[in-house]
């Protein structure tokens, strides 16, 4: 159990913890506005070409989307449990839960990989590269540009999240965390929940158009 030393410019561990929590929430604001830009594009183009979205959404695999949603929700659940275990000094169980969360992230990426290859094979590609013949709508590539940009950026954030979880998993195994010091686990957890939160909105908007 290595003893964590509080950075000298902070007066107490409490102040350091509060500071990093506020820092993380501010970072989440930037993430929301980053994705917000893409959501604005979605709202504008769906508002202008609603029938395109109805037609194009049928070409997305709804079951795989639902599967991914369940996977991320479970990973959020196990992540929350892992953070709680660390706070109760139970590093062993926490490590197991973190590993499970990591594997959920991995499954999410694999499912994503299948969807992407299927799309590339069918020619449902963004913008200029769109070569799918059956869809009549002249602006069809726009939907798939949106699809690839939104799920691509989200996928990137899942990868970063998996990296963070792996790093926190290694440190938990090394016994760095305890009920006195668990900030990195808490921060990684909140970041991972945000990634899940964004997918909660992406799933209905892209896959479940009536």
């Amino acid at each position: 159990m290595t003893q964590h030393v509080v950075a000298e410019h902070f007066e107490s561990a409490e102040q350091a913890f509060e500071a990093s929590k506020l820092g993380l929430w501010l970072f989440l604001v930037t993430e929301i506005l980053l994705f917000g830009g893409l959501f604005v594009l979605y709202i504008v183009f769906r508002g202008l070409y609603p029938e395109l979205f109805h037609e194009a959404s049928h070409h997305l695999n709804r079951t795989l989307g639902a599967l991914n949603t369940v996977v991320l929700i479970c990973s959020s659940f196990t992540m929350a449990l892992a953070v709680s275990r660390v706070q109760h000094n139970d590093s062993k169980k926490a490590a197991g839960l973190l590993l499970f969360t990591f594997l959920c992230g991995l499954t999410f990426m694999i499912v994503k990989y299948c969807e992407y290859t299927h799309k590339i094979h069918e020619g449902l590609l963004p913008g200029v590269h769109f070569s799918f013949t059956e869809m009549a709508h002249p602006k069809a590539p726009l939907f798939f540009s949106l699809y690839f940009m939104m799920t691509g950026l989200h996928g990137l954030h899942v990868l970063v999240g998996m990296g963070l979880i792996a790093w926190v998993l290694i440190r938990t195994r090394r016994g760095d965390f305890s009920s006195q010091y668990f900030t990195p686990v808490e921060l990684t957890g909140i970041y991972w929940h945000l990634v899940d939160l964004i997918w909660i909105y992406l799933f209905p908007l892209l896959y479940l158009i009536g």
């Binding site: 561990a13 409490e14 913890f17 509060e18 929590k21 506020l22 929430w25 501010l26 989440l28 604001v29 929301i32 506005l33 917000g36 959501f39 604005v40 709202i43 504008v44 508002g47 202008l48 709804r62 639902a66 949603t69 369940v70 929700i73 479970c74 959020s76 659940f77 992540m79 929350a80 449990l81 709680s84 706070q87 009920s179 808490e186 957890g189 909140i190 929940h193 945000l194 899940d196 939160l197 909660i200 909105y201 799933f203 209905p204 908007l205 896959y207 479940l208 158009i209 009536g210």
Partner: protein, 192 residues
């Protein structure tokens, strides 16, 4: 932090219930999407997503037990996003639809048809134009009129429009949009 920890005592049962609710809501929203309720579809989808989102925020992300500043910070992100959506929407969805004068065919045609893709008639039209405008220099075999093999059609188009100041090629900007692309595709076809 101690205050924070006291909240989290024996909290795992709460997590399980939240997990269950999230799964149920997911099934609900997927089920709704298979039935057509018209505009209600998107309203229900967004409502369910927001409920799921706030559950994740309040319980999993511990926003419920966090101090006021963090809560205000997180909410403000959505306020400014709403401003962005609202004011962009006030422009994009309220633009007047302009009735185009049917009489002038040429201009309407050129402005909207995507001419950058080569078509046989464009190439034929390009050939006629070539004899009129370009033959003077680019008669095959003339020193200064050679075409570089790897030149892209976009570069040909630009050279036609801008000309080449260093190689005594005048700019043909007074040619119409269609004529320029016709010439570009004809020269492009010569290369292959």
């Amino acid at each position: 932090m101690k205050k924070f920890l006291r909240y989290l005592e024996g909290h795992e049962t709460v997590y399980i219930t939240i997990w269950g609710m999230l799964l149920v809501l997911t099934i609900l929203t997927v089920w709704v999407s298979y039935h057509n309720f018209g505009i209600m579809n998107i309203v229900v989808a967004m409502l369910v997503a927001t409920i799921k989102g706030s559950l994740v925020c309040l319980y999993f992300m511990h926003l419920k037990y966090d101090n006021k500043t963090n809560q205000v910070v997180f909410i403000s992100a959505f306020v400014f996003l709403a401003i962005f959506v609202g004011l962009v929407g006030s422009d994009v969805f309220f633009r007047p639809s302009v009735r185009y004068p049917e009489s002038s065919g040429h201009l309407a045609h050129a402005a909207f048809e995507d001419l950058s893709q080569s078509t046989p008639e464009l190439v034929k039209r390009g050939q006629e134009l070539f004899k009129v405008h370009c033959i003077a220099c680019h008669a095959l075999g003339h020193a200064s009129g050679k075409f570089k093999s790897e030149i892209s059609s976009q570069k040909i188009y630009e050279t036609i429009v801008k000309g080449l100041s260093d190689a005594a090629m005048p700019s043909f900007s007074d040619l119409g949009e269609k004529e320029r692309w016709a010439l570009t595709h004809y020269v492009d076809s010569l290369k292959k």
